[in-house]
């Protein structure tokens, strides 16, 4: 479901008064709302009372020093923390008004709606074709081989990889270059037609040219998906995102329009970080 087809906008969830985050946490008609989210790894509290909304057709960048909990929060959104032994999530995360941690909800369904691209390109050790066809296969999205071919082709096209691989769809995906592998992973993710794409430092293993291609791609994909990207590069955040969230030691310090955050940060910590005074 995209924003156009939703008749009634999703109501904004109230944010508790205790929330210390600076800036506009909530957005109108949010796709995902997180309220007072905490994550514990065993006894250790990795993120604390995070409140944030994710808007449709927009790129949200998450920045912050290493170990501040960006990946942890990102993994909450598609419940990848479920697979980590000892991880526990509290608080509310709702997608279009329904709790994604609801016990009756199948996590498989959620992950088909929220795709993820990882820091290190991790194509399956199968052919390029099989990599992209895997998601549609397990979710039963294609009725026959023709339809599957169609999905694979469009996904590779949209990921900007088609011209490079169209002659070798049956070669192993692991034989591609790092940048191509990452675009293959993006193609694999969009093949199941998700609503949100989560990206955890998708360019950190890539050279500047491959990075630029992925950034262009993100900008194009924004038309159809909500995108959340974790990055260590302030320039990248400034280039690709419309909203930016700054994390610090497990706290969400500041959220706002990207332009505003980079030109006029309100919190001292945000300012220190983006001006390079903080590691």
């Amino acid at each position: 479901m995209s924003a156009e087809s939703t008749a009634i906008p999703v109501p904004v969830l109230p944010v508790s008064a205790a929330c210390k985050t600076v800036g506009s946490v909530a957005v109108a008609d949010p796709l995902i709302s997180a309220r007072d989210v905490n994550v514990y790894y065993g006894e250790k509290r990795a993120i604390m009372d995070v409140n944030i909304d994710i808007a449709r057709n927009q790129v949200l960048a998450m920045i912050g020093p290493s170990g501040c909990g960006k990946s942890t929060f990102l993994r909450c959104l598609n419940r990848m923390n479920d697979t980590i032994e000892g991880a526990r999530v509290t608080g509310l995360i709702s997608m279009e008004g329904s709790d994604i941690y609801d016990k009756r909800k199948d996590v498989v369904q959620l992950r088909a709606r929220i795709g993820m691209v990882f820091q290190k390109p991790n194509p399956f050790p199968k052919t390029i074709y099989e990599n992209v066809a895997y998601g549609p296969r397990i979710h039963g999205l294609a009725a026959d081989r023709v339809e599957l071919d169609e999905i694979v082709t469009t996904s590779l096209r949209r990921a900007g990889l088609w011209d490079e691989v169209k002659d070798r769809l049956n070669n192993p995906g692991t034989g591609l270059s790092g940048g191509q592998q990452q675009r293959l992973c993006i193609a694999r993710t969009i093949a199941v037609n998700p609503e949100v794409i989560l990206m955890d430092e998708p360019c950190s293993a890539l050279d500047p040219i491959a990075t630029a291609r992925i950034e262009d791609l993100i900008d194009e994909l924004r038309a159809s998906y909500a995108i959340v990207i974790v990055t260590h590069s302030m320039q990248q955040a400034a280039r690709v995102s419309q909203r930016t969230a700054y994390f610090h030691l497990g706290d969400l310090i500041e959220v706002g329009e990207t332009d505003r955050i980079f030109t006029n940060p309100r919190h001292k910590l945000t300012e220190d970080y983006i001006t390079g005074r903080f590691g």
Binding site: M80, V108, F118, P123, F124, P125, I138
Partner: protein
């Protein structure tokens, strides 16, 4: 520290460099020595077994002119099956021998002559006549197994210079054998019976096929049980089970089981499968059960290690695409772990193939002539057959022991080759 000049540092590094290079060379020499020692031992092992065993692949056979004398077999001419079954066929063999050596007279001397041909000759004639009674009254030139001692004589294993009393063959017997050899009627031929027959009290008739089939049945049961159970257990423990005190306990127990002496599993099998469930004694089915207990820990441990070695990024990728846990394992992790799992399985199966002790406990040590036809038939296995033959006093069994070891090794090599081929088909990079 900072007072050291660059030249000093270089000198120090150079000194340590020489030491390191020397240590490295020394280590290489040790390694090479170890490998050479291993190769030499393997070479000696193979050389000694093959040199002792290859003669068993040849067997002396005597060619005789047989007259199917109706007077000796069916004097009344009824041709009834019962008469044909009860008749004294060795008389035909004896007559043929007397015909060949008319000069030998006297009961004792004749008995010595008859002893040159294996007792299996009479059975062979019986089979022929029963299959085709019209043979009666005809003549046929047939080849029979020679007695084990004649076989040994032809293979040069009986010393002719020994005084007659110390030999298993008399002077007269040796003379007769020589005459048969000269006339082209006694020759070493390829011993196909060794590869098609079961065990026998007579060394010249003893074959290894019964034990090979027994081993195949037993290992088939073992593989069919231990592979799926072991892999399923490993997958459950590695991918599904929560890490807690119970899974720790199970893990410790599996590791301990891998170290339990095999005879203990034999005792367990005896108590459980034979005494409690009343399964048949000496059966490959029960042997397979017992060997399954033995190989399971090996397969589980190897499979878990193989599953652990699959990079977590593959699991993340599968989960991220919305695969369920079972799909994640079945589509991605298991295919990648398969080469390692197969290696573990083959190690377990090789161990099972060579096991003797636990099978002795469930009665697979019995003397069994027939080649087993089913999983419940009494059977023995190759290592037990080797043990039985090695234990027997007759000289002719000696070469058969070595020959059976060669067959066992060949079995092992075929099994390993199959596993390597399978593994290469699964091998993929990531």
């Amino acid at each position: 520290m900072s007072s050291r000049t660059a030249a000093d540092t270089r000198l120090l590094v150079e000194k340590s460099l020489r030491r390191r290079a020397w240590a490295e060379r020394r280590f290489r020499a040790y390694g090479l020595g170890a490998v050479l020692l291993g190769v030499v031992f393997v070479f000696f092992l193979f050389a000694s077994i093959i040199s002792k065993g290859y003669t068993a692949f040849l067997q002396a056979r005597v060619t005789l002119d047989i007259f199917y004398d109706p007077a000796a077999i069916d004097p009344e001419g009824t041709r009834q099956a019962e008469t044909l079954a009860m008749a004294n066929y060795s008389a035909l063999v004896r007559a043929a021998l007397r015909e060949k050596f008319p000069e030998i007279e006297g009961n004792a001397r004749r008995r010595a002559l008859y002893a040159l041909v294996s007792s299996s000759a009479a059975f062979e004639l019986q089979h022929r006549v029963q299959a085709d009674p019209s043979l009666l009254g005809q003549r046929q030139r047939l080849s029979f197994l020679a007695a084990a001692n004649v076989d040994q004589l032809l293979k040069g294993k009986i010393d002719r210079r020994l005084p007659e009393a110390n030999r298993v063959l008399t002077d007269q017997q040796i003379a007769c054998a020589d005459k048969l050899v000269n006339d082209g009627q006694l020759k070493l031929r390829f011993n196909s019976a060794f590869f098609t027959g079961g065990d026998s009290r007579e060394p010249e008739q003893a074959g290894v096929w019964g034990a090979v089939v027994g081993s195949m049945y037993t290992l088939a049961v073992t593989l069919l049980l231990s592979f799926p159970i072991g892999v399923a257990a490993a997958i459950y423990l590695e991918e599904f089970a929560p890490r807690n005190r119970w899974t720790d306990l199970i893990e410790v127990n599996i590791n301990n089981l891998a170290a339990v002496p095999s005879i203990v599993f034999g005792l367990l099998g005896l108590a459980m499968f034979l005494n409690f469930f009343g399964m048949p004694r000496s059966a490959p089915l029960v042997g397979g059960f017992v060997l399954t207990l033995l190989t399971l820990p090996t397969i589980i441990i190897a499979s878990r290690a193989a599953l652990k070695a699959v990079p977590p990024s593959i699991r993340e990728a599968a989960f991220g695409m919305g695969a369920s846990r079972l799909q994640m394992v079945g589509h991605h992790v298991l295919p990648l772990a398969m080469p390692g799992i197969l290696t573990g399985t083959i190690i377990g199966m090789a161990r099972a193939l060579g096991e003797t002790a636990p099978l002795l406990m469930i009665g697979m040590v019995a003397f069994i002539v027939n080649v087993p036809r089913s999983l419940a038939d009494p059977a023995t296995v190759l290592p037990v057959q080797i043990y039985l033959w090695a234990d027997s006093s007759e000289r002719a069994f000696l070469e058969r022991t070595s020959a059976a070891i060669i067959v066992l090794l060949a079995f092992l090599i075929v099994m390993n080759a199959a596993a390597v081929i399978l593994r290469n088909r699964f091998e993929r990079r990531w």
